[in-house]
Symmetry: C2
Subunit: 349 residues, 2 copies
């Protein structure tokens, strides 16, 4: 038996998303079947649906910020039961035996993780389809539990935007006394502010747009720095331990690097592409500063992040849409017209 | 009383070095006067003598790999006495009160360290003059002790080439089990091989030139990888913990970054300039890899490095020259025709 699924798909890189019926595998013994309630809309959904990174698999059902209820479990699944509120993020499988997998860092799997959509299942080779759909079938190891205290709708983007900012802040030991600056105030950036603040750091926002002061402070910023103002940038030279750079487009890192202390770390989480204009080496050498990248987080850390959110009362700021509004939502995202994440209410399907 | 000093100087950015008499300050109460025996020749001497970094102060007496004997001490100097064999590296002073100075990382002084030459003394504002001269006057805090077991001549380049490679290997905790690759086999690179090996690491050399196998192995490499051979590069993908990049000229970092494991670190110690061609972010994000810079080392760490060299029997491979050969030596360095560091025997002055 296979599952007939309704969803929304891009049939080609140039067609808008539209209703699409497709088949998912019959659950294996370790699989969890999830009836999807909400799915967040990530900027990378647009990149991949439009084949902007190359190699896209069509038809494509995007979506990797998935929340839903377990409707069925495979014979060997013991950690989840029907009715549980669960989540699925960017990955649905990994090799499970390399050093990174063994350490719970499945996103860095030596053989490459299996992505939730626009990938291929590593066991049967079939394309993976994401959360813009009514139901998903996922190995239990890649399912996380949504704490009761979290609203499932606003929790959905935690599975990508949340973990992508939480993981590096934890890895680089942000806490009381740490000075963190977030670059960019979008889906990732607004979570970066919330997490850094909740971890006890002193938090700043770099922005190119005046007028975001009150909003940034509401989200956790202690300070807002207009990065286009040389005087404001100079005032924070050698100041931050961490710059969390969430900007997805090409941009000049050098002005931000200059605001790092000795041994400070500029963490890229949004940009996929060449670092142009080029980073200059002298500010790296003369203060032993680091430029580094970080990708989402492992499954155990994703669960930790969800529990942290429940404990601290952290959610994403979302705008709920119906699935038929998805193409309009993409257009609005490209104009940064969203505060800060669209979430599809899958009841609209 | 001021000291009349013989030395060699560049009078302008385009004139060869030539004999030059100049004045050094009368020793202050914390100063040590050192009769210079040997001075190593660093690639940065050429850059600065030819004003390739801008802002050079002329006449310029280069040289920051200085070994000599104490000939006089100021009234408050207690740690050195006449006759001691001592060394001076790239710095002769720093603010002594910022966080970096307090941690013994004077090279990252918030106010900027005072460089041994082509700088200005922070107390009297006079230009600093380096080791291509018969005598130097230096605050005792910036003088290190040369262990008896070290040959002063081959130890001279340890003060720059040595500490520049030793410091990052220590800071990033190289030891048994660590896989280190050194890029470039010059003054810095050959020391990188020796130190990494002596610290117990598994050591590789990346080179663009075939035929360096035996030489690299003699210096400590367990493996030599021809970086122009895609098959050899592919064989070490995701392999190293540390890439120690000593190349002083613009070069593509991306092929080396690809050889780093997850959480691996590409350390720049030689390049001063923009990272062109640009570093690509995806290999950073997808393996949480780091690009970082490191500059020389602090005074306490320089002493530690010298003691380590004495203990392990490590010296630089040098070719001794007379001071009148300095311009020829510069020409040969630009053709990489030196194994691996020229050292001026100052008796020739």
């Amino acid at each position: 038996m296979t599952l007939n699924i309704r969803g929304y798909a891009a049939q080609t890189a140039t067609t808008p998303l539209a209703p699409h019926d497709f088949i998912r595998r019959d659950p294996r013994e370790d699989d969890v079947v999830i009836d999807i309630l909400y799915c967040g809309v990530c900027h990378s959904d647009i990149h991949q649906a439009r084949d902007e990174w190359g190699g896209s698999i069509f038809p494509m059902v995007p979506g990797h910020e998935i929340i839903g209820k377990v409707s069925r479990v495979g014979s060997k699944v013991t950690t989840f039961k029907v009715g549980d509120m669960v989540g699925v993020g960017c990955m649905v499988d990994s090799c499970q035996h390399c050093a990174s997998c063994a350490e719970g860092l499945e996103q860095y799997c030596d053989e490459g993780a299996t992505w939730t959509y626009n990938g291929r299942d590593r066991r049967d080779g079939m394309p993976t389809y994401g959360g813009y759909s009514e139901r998903i079938v996922v190995s239990d190891k890649f399912v996380v539990r949504i704490p009761e205290k979290l609203d499932p709708k606003t929790a959905a983007p935690l599975l990508c935007a949340g973990i992508t900012t939480y993981s590096p802040l934890r890895h680089w030991k942000v806490g009381p006394g740490t000075k963190v600056a977030v670059v960019g105030l979008g889906g990732l950036g607004h979570m970066g502010l919330k997490f850094a603040k909740a971890m006890g750091a002193e938090v700043a926002l770099f922005t190119r747009t005046p007028g975001k002061e009150a909003e940034a402070r509401r989200l956790g910023a202690d300070q807002v720095i207009l990065s286009t103002d040389p005087a404001q940038m100079k005032a924070v030279a050698n100041h931050f331990d961490i710059v969390l750079d969430t900007v997805p487009n090409a941009h000049d890192l050098n002005p931000y690097v200059a605001t790092l202390k000795r041994d400070g770390t500029h963490i890229l989480v949004g940009l996929l592409g060449p670092l142009e204009p080029p980073v200059h080496s002298v500010p790296l050498l003369m203060k032993r500063r680091t430029v580094v990248g970080s990708a989402i987080g492992g499954i155990a850390e994703t669960q930790e992040m969800l529990d942290f959110c429940a404990e601290k009362g952290i959610t994403c700021d979302t705008e709920t849409i119906a699935i038929e509004q998805i193409n309009t939502a993409y257009d609005r995202m490209l104009k940064s017209d969203v505060h800060y994440r669209f979430v599809i209410d899958m009841a609209s399907l």
